[in-house]
């Protein structure tokens, strides 16, 4: 990688930091937990790195490291998105008071 590429990478790095700050600082406290969980699933992107090292591995140690990295990365990405969706599903608009509630609190847990 030449110097220009490194400069580009560092530019991307700095801009991402600023975008992250800008996007998050406006989120209401109500959504902080789903947000933390949601950003948690974004760092599941690490699974792509794990796939790339699996593709480049050619020693047993390399395969073992790539396998564990794959397990970790896939767990992060799948689990992160599913649990965030499960949380956010609870924030959906409620039926107006008075209309019968089809989904009761008791069945909600099993349903998701």
């Amino acid at each position: 990688m030449n110097n220009l590429d490194l400069l580009t990478a560092i530019t991307v790095f700095v801009l991402s930091v600023l975008v992250g700050i800008e996007v998050i600082s406006k989120v209401p406290a109500t959504l902080h937990t789903p947000l933390m969980s949601g950003s948690n699933s974004v760092h599941g992107i690490v699974v792509i790195g794990a796939m790339l090292i699996a593709a480049e591995s050619h020693t047993w140690l390399g395969y073992v490291l790539a396998f564990v990295a794959m397990v970790f990365g896939a767990m992060n990405v799948v689990g992160g998105y599913v649990v965030t969706d499960r949380m956010l599903e609870m924030f959906k608009a409620r039926p107006a008071p008075g209309t019968p509630d089809k989904v009761t609190a008791g069945t909600r847990d099993k349903e998701v």
């Binding site: 991402s16 406290a29 690490v46 591995s57 649990v83």
Partner: protein, 472 residues
């Protein structure tokens, strides 16, 4: 660069843009779910693009495919199972575990890269520096997050664990991984430096989190989330993958902001929390009952509380950790629904640090079908307390303690809910035990406060039945 890898890089760029938009959509409860779906879709496309790239470059061995596919399936199954089975009250632990595996993966990628290089000595600082940082940050996050999850789950003592020499270790370990990082940058082929760095960083994760009390875990988890992001970004530098740099730093900076918001809500600095403060045993209980005698409290019965609630015009519920611990959010939601139907103006006052993560209480209440329009944040609800006929506190302690307005105690200066300004206060609590800060709550001895000593879940169910008799 050939056409395919160019195309895949555009796919990654599009995915990164979707992550930003997805997080932005999380600004509002109405669009939050769409944002998460968008982000998940982008992730799926990015993974698909990577598969395309791997196939196209055709350097992967069949064992490599086996590793990739089986590892992916095992991880996905574990993640799916954990995400579906977890109880909403155990959410912080799960987030912490996902932090751990994310950081662990980033560290492993860097270890792998430094080991696999054909001529490691030829690796410039361009790879070895981010590699070393990825290992250090990733490994600290891995072990630290597991300890944090263990504390929240009760597997590790929630109270601060301090052993002789712990403070010294917490100075020595960072110093030694600074040395290890420099060593690895100067000699990227030194496996001694590599493994040494991994071990030291793993140890530091443990010794960093162990002395922090359970009350501070939410802040620690947010901080570790930020760490994982930067570990992933460093792995991106190692692999030359811009997608990892963007997504990683996006998480890292947003995690940093969340950590700061959370620490501000407790009126403490992040440094103060990491070094130790609340619940470390350092801050001895300061307040004692008047004249050292046990403070006088007024215990009231379920019927007294029910009458007050049934004939109130405005009721504010103040849910705290006790509610979450007793998993009584459904009972509270039912009681609130009954009162609302009876024409009582009901709202919930949610302190930013109620529950175990910022916003955790909102998630628990949402689980119990509480309309989010009834959830009010501290600044919004505080002016409403003087109009409230009854403020019902369920298991919240430090965040309602009026002594925070006075200097000279453990919680001085912490923003609190103005529960004491309500016309009448009822506190549901099992005993007179202290909150995390270990100080007596003056609210409990206030003449207009009635203490309803019971388990939150049982007490709220009884209350609902009793209120039902009055309004039915």
């Amino acid at each position: 660069m050939d056409t395919v890898s160019n195309a895949v890089h555009y796919v990654f760029l599009a995915a990164a843009a979707c992550f930003v938009i997805g997080l932005h959509l999380m600004n509002h409860p109405r669009t939050a779910r769409r944002g998460n779906t968008l982000s998940a879709g982008a992730m799926a496309v990015a993974i698909g693009g990577t598969v395309w790239l791997v196939v196209h470059e055709s350097r992967i061995t069949s064992t490599g495919w086996l590793v990739l596919v089986s590892g992916g399936l095992v991880g996905a199954a574990l993640g799916l199972w954990a995400a579906r089975e977890v109880k909403m009250t155990a959410m912080p632990q799960l987030v912490s575990v996902f932090n751990a595996v994310g950081g662990g993966a980033a560290a492993l990628i860097a270890v792998n890269d430094l080991l696999q290089a054909d001529h490691p000595a030829a690796l410039g600082a361009r790879v070895s520096l981010p590699g070393a940082l990825s290992i250090v940050i990733g490994a600290v996050t891995f072990s630290g997050s597991l300890v944090a999850a263990g504390k929240l789950q009760g597997l590790v003592s929630g109270s601060p664990v301090v052993f002789p020499g712990a403070r010294l270790l917490n100075v020595l370990l960072p110093a030694s991984f600074a040395v290890g990082t420099v060593w690895l940058v100067l000699a990227p082929d030194s496996t001694t430096a590599l493994y040494g760095l991994v071990v030291v960083a793993l140890l530091f994760g443990v010794t960093m989190v162990l002395p922090i009390g359970g009350a501070d875990m939410p802040v620690v988890i947010a901080l570790l989330n930020a760490f994982t992001g930067s570990a992933v970004a460093m792995a991106g530098f190692v692999l030359d993958e811009t997608a990892l740099i963007i997504a990683g730093m996006l998480v890292s900076s947003s995690g940093g902001i969340l950590t700061k918001l959370m620490a501000d809500a407790m009126n403490r600095s992040i440094m103060n929390i990491v070094i130790g403060g609340f619940g470390t045993g350092d801050s001895a209980p300061t307040a004692v009952g008047a004249d050292g005698a046990p403070a006088q409290v007024r215990a009231i019965s379920v019927d007294d509380v029910a009458i007050q609630l049934a004939y109130a015009r405005k009721v504010i519920f103040v849910p705290g950790y006790g509610l979450a611990a007793a998993q009584a959010q459904h009972e509270l939601g039912d009681l609130a629904k009954l009162l609302t139907e009876h024409g009582v103006d009901v709202s919930y006052a949610v302190h930013p640090v109620a529950g175990r993560m910022p916003g955790h209480m909102n998630v628990l209440l949402a689980e119990a079908n509480v309309p989010y329009t009834q959830l009010k944040e501290m600044d919004e609800v505080n002016p409403e307390f003087p109009q409230a006929d009854v403020a019902l506190v369920i298991g919240a302690n430090d965040v309602t303690n009026p002594i925070a307005r006075r200097p000279g105690n453990a919680i001085s200066g912490m923003p609190i809910l103005d529960v004491d300004k309500a016309k009448s206060v009822v506190v549901i609590k099992r005993s007179m035990g202290h909150g995390y800060a270990g100080v007596d709550n003056e609210l409990y001895t206030d003449p207009k406060t009635g203490m309803f000593f019971t388990d939150a879940k049982k007490g709220l169910a009884e209350l609902k039945a009793a209120v039902g008799e009055f309004v039915g």
